[in-house]
Symmetry: C2
Subunit: 203 residues, 2 copies
């Protein structure tokens, strides 16, 4: 086994164990010794690969953001009318909830750390802003192509993203009741169709 292979193997075992332990117990409650025991790696090896426990957390966060970015980009870029593209993005909610049901408490952990650590905060907020801007641009497109009403794109993007986040979190905390796989589509459809029976058009 070459050094490179050893290195990669150890590193990814640390990352995998850390994710598992952070997810089930949280950042603070997980000790470096925990991670080492779970991954079959010595403490020395751990600190050989990462300068601190926090660095592992950051590595996990960056990977997660990269994956999410990729999913969103590929779901939003199709050459279809905007409402269809919004529905595609909505499907992502179910996908994220399902596929990574184990990593969503992690997401909560990210958020909580962001609330108190400026570095993590930047790491979290920057991609999130990109995310919201992408939605706003998409809505702007929809307005220009005539398939959406002339709403404020920023406000609409905020609402859409909020709904997505809320759905994912609810699915994570309470899978039995709130974890409908079609929740995202339902939500977008409600937003597109409106909930009121007829006109309430005056502002």
């Amino acid at each position: 086994m070459t050094n490179q292979e050893r290195r990669d193997g150890t590193r990814s075992r640390i990352l995998a164990s850390a994710r598992e332990r952070f997810t089930s117990g949280g950042f603070d409650a997980t000790s470096v010794a925990d991670i080492c025991a779970t991954s079959g790696v010595s403490k020395g090896a751990f600190y050989h690969h990462f300068p601190s426990k926090q660095a592992v957390f950051v590595a996990l966060l960056e990977r997660w953001i990269a994956e999410l970015d990729e999913s969103v980009r590929s779901a939003a870029a199709r050459d279809e009318p905007v409402p269809r593209r919004l529905e595609n993005l909505a499907g992502l909610v179910g996908q994220v909830s399902e596929l990574g049901s184990g990593q969503i408490p992690m997401f909560l952990e990210f958020w909580r750390q962001a609330a108190k650590d400026p570095d993590i905060w930047r790491l979290t907020v920057d991609p999130y802003r990109r995310f919201r801007e992408a939605f706003a641009a998409l809505i702007q497109d929809g307005i220009e192509e005539g398939t959406l009403r002339p709403v404020d794109p920023d406000a609409a993007a905020l609402v859409l993203v909020s709904t997505g986040i809320g759905l994912v979190l609810q699915g994570a905390l309470n899978p039995a009741e709130a974890g409908r796989p079609d929740a995202g589509e339902q939500a977008v459809r409600m937003l597109l169709d409106g909930l009121a029976k007829e006109a309430s058009d005056e502002s």
Copy 2:
């Protein structure tokens, strides 16, 4: 000073300090010694009033839930058409974000603890279910009184609550960009009016 007065004063000072510390640092990172120092209470007094650090957390959670319950009940009960009542409830989002901007990280903390502690989980999920059921009932009313389309009330309630949660959390994490005070109203209006320009009525 009577014993009762002393007792109440000490207890509420502990609670206040604990909330402040949990909010800014999180549950795990806050030590009992922190809380004692901040509140000017000795460790003996702390453990005289609460059997554990977790017990303080639970007391805080229960109080928070009671307050929220009360707010929702009073906002939803007015004798008005359902869409108006939904808008009232939406106003609550801004209110919660503003008034308790300091206690929302606490809410995140509640949620994270709930994800790993079954007792906290029950405490969190039960009132939350009531909450969602209240929304569903409200929507059912709206359908019957003819002001709302015949949507699935449970799904609609899920979407509404999700949006509210998402907005509050975004406002908490990123007040500068996402913390519009009128976000809740915007969202409800979008849901009521629909976003698409015209019919996309086929399912």
